[in-house]
Symmetry: C2
Subunit: 408 residues, 2 copies
C-alpha cells in the first residue's frame, strides 16, 4: 500500500527519536492502515489537511471533540474574546458559573456541575465520588468498555497492579442477568454502576442500550444505594443535549462529559444530582487548568449553536444519509457490511472480516480518494457535514466498494 | 473583615446553587482569608482583576502556570497562529515533534517526551510507567507531598480505598534514613521513588533538597533497578530550564511537568530516559486533547522567551528583592517571619502562628492595598514582575507589617 507524504515521513522519523514509538495513545497511526497520515496541519469545517497538504473529508472529528466542524466562527470568537480577557487566573471567571447553570438547565438529572480537562478526569471523579458518598467500594463496569486510560480502567493493563482493580466487577453490556450477578457479587459494598451511553467497544459492532437494561441498572443503583454513573464522554451532545439516556427515560446520578462539549477546546465535566452534592463538596478534585475560562466560553457557544440548529437531529440526518448510501452500495456490490451504533457515530464492519483486512482496505481506498474513515473504531459526524459532503463521501465509498468486490 | 465586591458575592450566590460548595479544589476561596475574591476577570502581566474590577499585583501567578505574565505577546501570538491553523485534529501536528525535541534538548536526563493536560496526568504516567518497566509495584513518596488529586495520591482521601495506596510507602523528605527504610520495606518490589523538586507542602516551611538526600535517592533507584521520578510540576522552569535537580548534579529517570510550561495554556509532559523508552511505548496513556497544538505552540514560545531573558535568574532576582525587603520590614517591626523555598517560589510564615491567623491578617491587609499574597501556600513570581512591582509590593507589606505589629 502507499506510504504517507514526505512531510509526514520526515516528521515520523524525527518523532521516532524523541517520542516513544513516534506517537502514543489513540492517535497513534500505527493502529490504522498503512498510508494513513500521522501528522496534520489544519481543519476547516469537516475538512482536514495532513502534514503534506493532502485534504480529506473527515469522519473522525478528532475522535469526537469536533461537533460543529473545525473553526466554527461563533465558538472561536467566544474563546478568543475570553482569552483576551483572561483564561488561567487565580480562580474561575463568571464563565464557570454560566456553564454550570447551563448544564444544570439542560440535563434533567443534574443539580450541579464540576469541570476538569480529560474524559478520564470526569470518569475518575464520578467513581471516587460514588465511593466517598456511599462509603462503599465496588464499581460495576462492562467488560471491554472504555472509560479512560489510567490504571483503574485502562484497556491495556501495562503498569497496572491487581489492587488498582480490586473493587471492579465486570458485567456484559445490555445483559441484565450479568449485571444482576455483578451486583450480587458486590453484596453490601456496591458504590456505583458505571455504564457507557451505548456499547462502543473498539473493533466490535456497536450496540444501543436495551431499555430494559438501562432501567434495571437504574433500579439496582437505587435499591442498593449506589450511584448510577453514565459515561457520556464519547457520545455526549451527539445523541441529545439532555444526556444520552434521557430519551430512554433513565436518569443517572452522575454523568461524565468531555470530548464534544467545547468543540475541540480542552474541557471535561461531571454533572450530578443533589444526592451526591454533599459528597462532591467533600471530594478534592482539582487541576491547574480546570478553571480555564476560554474553554468554558467555547462550551457555552457550542451549546448555543447545537440548540439553535438542533445539532443532534442534523448529525443524525446526515449520518443516516451516509448509512443508507453505504447499505445500498454494499447490496449493489454484494459485499456484506454491518453498520452499527447511532447514525451520527457510525461503525462500519465487514462480514467475515475478523482481522479487519477488508475494512482496512476499504478505508484506505476511501482515504486515497479524499475521505478519512476509520476501519475499526466508531466514527463521528459533525453538524458541519452537509448533504453534499455525504454525497461526495458516497461517490468515494462506491469506488472503494468496487475495489473490495473486485478482490473477492 | 471586609467582604468581597458585589459581583463576586453575586457570582458566589449563583455558584452555590450549581456547583458543590460554590467552588472546588485548590482555587476554592474558602481556604483563603475572608475578603479574598473567588472570581476573576482579567490578567495583564503581573496584574489581575477580580470580578468587581479590583486590581491586584499578583504573587500567585494562577498557582504557578503564569511564568511570563498574563498575555505575553509572543506566547499568545504563537497560540493564536496555531489555533487559526488547527489545534485538535485527528492526530498531532509538527508542534508535538518540535516540543519533544526542545524538551529533550533542554533536559540532560531526557531522551524522549510525551504530553498530556494535567500535572496529575504526568505523575500518574510516571508511576504507571515505573511499574510497567520494572515489573515491580512499590512507589516511595514523601508523606505530605502533593503529587496530584486522584486516589493514589490525593491529599484528602475521600473516596479513596486502601487498595489505591496498597503499594505506596512513605518517607520523610530530605531524610536519608527514612528513605532507606522505605526502600528496605519495598524489598525486591521497588518500582520507583517519586520526589518533588523541593519540599513545598501546604502550610509548612519549604525545604530545598539536601544534596545528600537527592544523591541517595538517585543511588537507591539505580541499585534497586527502580525509577527515580522527579515531580517538577510545580517548580518546573522556575528554578532551571534543565530540570530542577540539574544544578544538584542529580538526573531523574522520569520527570513530570505541567503548570508553567506553556504560560497558562493547558499542557503537561513526561520526559524520560532511554531506560524507560520501551516501556513508554507499551504504556497506553492518552486523552482527547493531549495533541492540542495551540498549547504546544505556546510552550515553544514560552521556552524561547525564558531562554532569551534567562527567566529563572530574573525571577530569582525579583524574588530575592522581595524576600530581602520583607526580612528588613519584619526586623524593623519586630515581627518574627520565616521565609522559605527558592526566592522565585516564596513561602512566608509567621513565628508562633500555628493557626495562620497572623499570616492571614497580613495577607488580607496586603490584599486590601492591592497585593495578592497567599498566607499558607507557596507563591510564585513571574518574569513580568519588575523591580518597581516589588517596590510597590514592599510599600504595601510595610503597612501590613505595621498592622500586625500594632496588634501585638
Amino acid at each position: 500500500m502507499a506510504s504517507t507524504g514526505a512531510s509526514d515521513q520526515s516528521l515520523r522519523e524525527r518523532a521516532s527519536r524523541v517520542i516513544p514509538g513516534g506517537m502514543y495513545g489513540h492517535m497513534r497511526a500505527a493502529g490504522l492502515p498503512a498510508g494513513y497520515p500521522q501528522f496534520f496541519t489544519r481543519g476547516e469545517g469537516c475538512t482536514i489537511w495532513d502534514a503534506d497538504g493532502r485534504k480529506y473529508l473527515d469522519f473522525m472529528c478528532s475522535w469526537g471533540p469536533i461537533i460543529l466542524g473545525h473553526h466554527h466562527a461563533a465558538v472561536d470568537e467566544a474563546a478568543r474574546r475570553q482569552l483576551e480577557k483572561g483564561d488561567c487566573l487565580n480562580g474561575p471567571t463568571d464563565k464557570l458559573v454560566e456553564l454550570a447553570e447551563r448544564l444544570v438547565g439542560l440535563m434533567p438529572h443534574a443539580d450541579w456541575a464540576m469541570f476538569s480537562k480529560n474524559g478520564t478526569d470526569a470518569t475518575t471523579t464520578c467513581v471516587t465520588l460514588a465511593r466517598g458518598a456511599t462509603g462503599k467500594r465496588k464499581i460495576l463496569l462492562a467488560s471491554g468498555a472504555y472509560h479512560g486510560a489510567v490504571p483503574w480502567c485502562s484497556p491495556y493493563p501495562f503498569g497496572v497492579t491487581a489492587e488498582d482493580r480490586a473493587h471492579a466487577i465486570y458485567f456484559k453490556y445490555n445483559d441484565v442477568a450479568s449485571l444482576e450477578a455483578a451486583a450480587a457479587q458486590a453484596g453490601n459494598d456496591l458504590a456505583g454502576i458505571l455504564v457507557s451511553a451505548f456499547r462502543h467497544d473498539y473493533g466490535l459492532d456497536q450496540e444501543l442500550p436495551d431499555p430494559a437494561f438501562a432501567a434495571r441498572a437504574r433500579a439496582l443503583a437505587t435499591e442498593k444505594d449506589a450511584a448510577l454513573i453514565l459515561d457520556d464522554v464519547r457520545a455526549g451532545f451527539r445523541l441529545s443535549l439532555h444526556g444520552s439516556w434521557n430519551d430512554l427515560g433513565v436518569q443517572p446520578d452522575l454523568s461524565a462529559w468531555s470530548k464534544a462539549i467545547a468543540n475541540g477546546y480542552a474541557l471535561a465535566a461531571v454533572t450530578g444530582n443533589d444526592r451526591f452534592r454533599k459528597a462532591a463538596l467533600q471530594l478534592y478534585a482539582t487541576g491547574s487548568f480546570w478553571c480555564g475560562a476560554a474553554s468554558m466560553a467555547a462550551a457555552l457557544a457550542t451549546i448555543d449553536v447545537l440548540q439553535a440548529e438542533d445539532g443532534p437531529a442534523r448529525m443524525r440526518a446526515v449520518g443516516q444519509r451516509f448509512r443508507d448510501g453505504v447499505a445500498a452500495q454494499a447490496a449493489k456490490y454484494g459485499v456484506g457490511v454491518r453498520q452499527s451504533g447511532p447514525p451520527q457515530m457510525p461503525t462500519i464492519l465487514f462480514e467475515g472480516d475478523t482481522d479487519h483486512a477488508t475494512g482496512s482496505r476499504f478505508a484506505f481506498e476511501a482515504l486515497k480518494r479524499g475521505v478519512y474513515l476509520h476501519p475499526k473504531h466508531n466514527m463521528f459526524l459533525s453538524s458541519a457535514h452537509r448533504e453534499a459532503d455525504i454525497d461526495f463521501a458516497l461517490s468515494v465509498t462506491d469506488e472503494a466498494f468496487a475495489v473490495i468486490a473486485g478482490l473477492r
